[in-house]
């Protein structure tokens, strides 16, 4: 909760709440993109750096998404540091928004990147649908868990 001094400094409690949300969402997007890169591109090498079937628009969208995610990971953490020094961190709400950000990114990656833009597939030379299904279910689970946690955090605050 923001004290009166902080409100006087020009940051309303509402604005700080929203900053908690954005900080978590951005950091969630960035860390999910990073996990995707490390696990699926580098360690397992299921994803290909470049898939011969990738259309130009897919390369363009993927470049923008990755560049944004890189920025989001760092920016989200600096927003968190800003909340910390203002003593305005709402931990539960922040964790909830990380789950929302990472779940939304996972779903976006699974549906838009893999299926609509066809940047690359989850894995090659295998029956694809179980991979696609678990990829997207995992994303949806993260998203739903995040929303539930955010609701409970809100209820606690209002109670």
């Amino acid at each position: 909760m923001a004290s009166n001094e902080q409100v006087a400094a020009g940051e309303s409690a509402h604005a700080l709440n929203k900053r908690n949300l954005w900080s978590g969402i951005l950091f969630g997007i960035g860390s999910m993109a990073f996990i995707d890169e490390v696990i699926f591109h580098q360690l397992l090498q299921w994803h290909h750096f470049y898939d011969l079937a990738t259309p130009q628009i897919g390369i363009l969208a993927d470049g923008l998404l990755n560049s944004f995610a890189w920025f989001a990971a760092v920016g989200g953490l600096f927003l968190f540091a800003d909340l910390k020094r203002r003593q305005a961190v709402r931990m539960k709400y922040w964790i909830a928004s990380i789950l929302i950000g990472s779940g939304a990114f996972q779903l976006f990656d699974g549906i838009i990147d893999h299926k609509v833009l066809k940047v690359h597939q989850v894995r090659y030379h295998v029956e694809l649908w179980p991979y696609d299904l678990s990829w997207n279910l995992f994303g949806a689970a993260l998203l739903i868990a995040g929303i539930a946690l955010a609701k409970s955090a809100k209820k606690e605050r209002l109670a």
């Binding site: 902080q6 470049y50 011969l52 990755n66 560049s67 920025f71 760092v74 920016g75 600096f78 020094r85």
Partner: protein, 272 residues
């Protein structure tokens, strides 16, 4: 696309070594780089007598920036770059991304301002405030100069000409260093900056520019420039992509940190 046969005539262009007559370029580079080291140290030492001490870390930034540019212009990496696209790309990361970042933190413009007598300093100040500088130092413009230049270099025959004419070679390398520097300067306000833009605008430009770098790296992976063998092209593209990622991370960190400092509570709000 990956196995497209390469034209053998153009392949020779890539393997072409610079003739002994073209030795003037590395020599000139050594003279200019060494001169910039001496001039920087001399100006800093000279102005120390009138102002407070020029911090040691700025000498270190400037010296390592000059070293990064030097490695890519003269010596074994520069020689290998005439034959190998991967070496060429490693050199370009040093020259176009790392060197500008290090040089910027040496604060050369601040040093120059502090060294000049009042009258020339006023002229410089007037020049910096001019409409011309406000246009060419706009983040959108510097990003276009920097990344547009890269698209022209790799997606036209400029890359082949560069290995045939030492003049083109020199111009391309000077452009890569300067455009990289002006871009970094227009995003991070580490040195004297006259025309300032919001964090939001600079963040959007930075994200789009870094995306353009990634897109170019991927298209180079798919189809290397004329005259570059497939394997070498793929390796070079990976160096461009992941090496770029590393330096991007530092850039983004410094940018966000400057926001963090500017947004501190109790800070009097300024234009940016």
């Amino acid at each position: 696309m990956r196995n497209r046969p390469r034209k053998s005539g153009l392949h020779k262009a890539m393997l072409h070594h610079l003739s002994p007559a073209a030795l003037w370029f590395p020599l000139a580079a050594v003279v200019v780089l060494a001169g910039s080291l001496l001039l920087y140290a001399a100006l800093a030492a000279w102005t120390n007598r009138r102002y407070k001490q020029w911090p040691l870390r700025r000498y270190l930034f400037w010296f390592s920036g000059v070293a990064a540019a030097g490695i890519s212009l003269v010596g074994p990496l520069a020689d290998a770059a005439h034959r190998s696209f991967s070496a060429h790309m490693a050199g370009h990361l040093l020259l176009g991304m790392l060197a500008p970042l290090l040089l910027l933190y040496g604060k050369p413009l601040t040093l120059l301002m502090r060294s000049l007598p009042t009258k020339p300093a006023r002229h410089l100040s007037r020049l910096l405030n001019s409409r011309y500088i406000s246009i060419v130092s706009h983040p959108v413009m510097t990003a276009l100069l920097n990344f547009g230049g890269l698209f022209i270099l790799y997606r036209t025959d400029l890359f082949v000409w560069m290995h045939q004419s030492v003049w083109v070679y020199a111009l391309v390398h000077i452009h890569v260093l300067l455009a990289g520097y002006v871009f970094t300067w227009s995003i991070l306000y580490a040195d004297l900056t006259v025309h300032r833009h919001s964090f939001r605008l600079r963040a959007v430009v930075l994200i789009v520019a870094l995306a353009a770098h990634k897109v170019l790296a991927k298209t180079l992976y798919a189809a290397p420039p004329t005259g570059v063998a497939t394997r070498d092209g793929e390796m070079g593209a990976l160096i461009m992509y992941y090496g770029g990622d590393g330096i991007d991370l530092v850039l983004i960190f410094l940018f966000c940190y400057s926001w963090y400092k500017a947004a501190a509570p109790g800070q009097i709000a300024r234009a940016v």
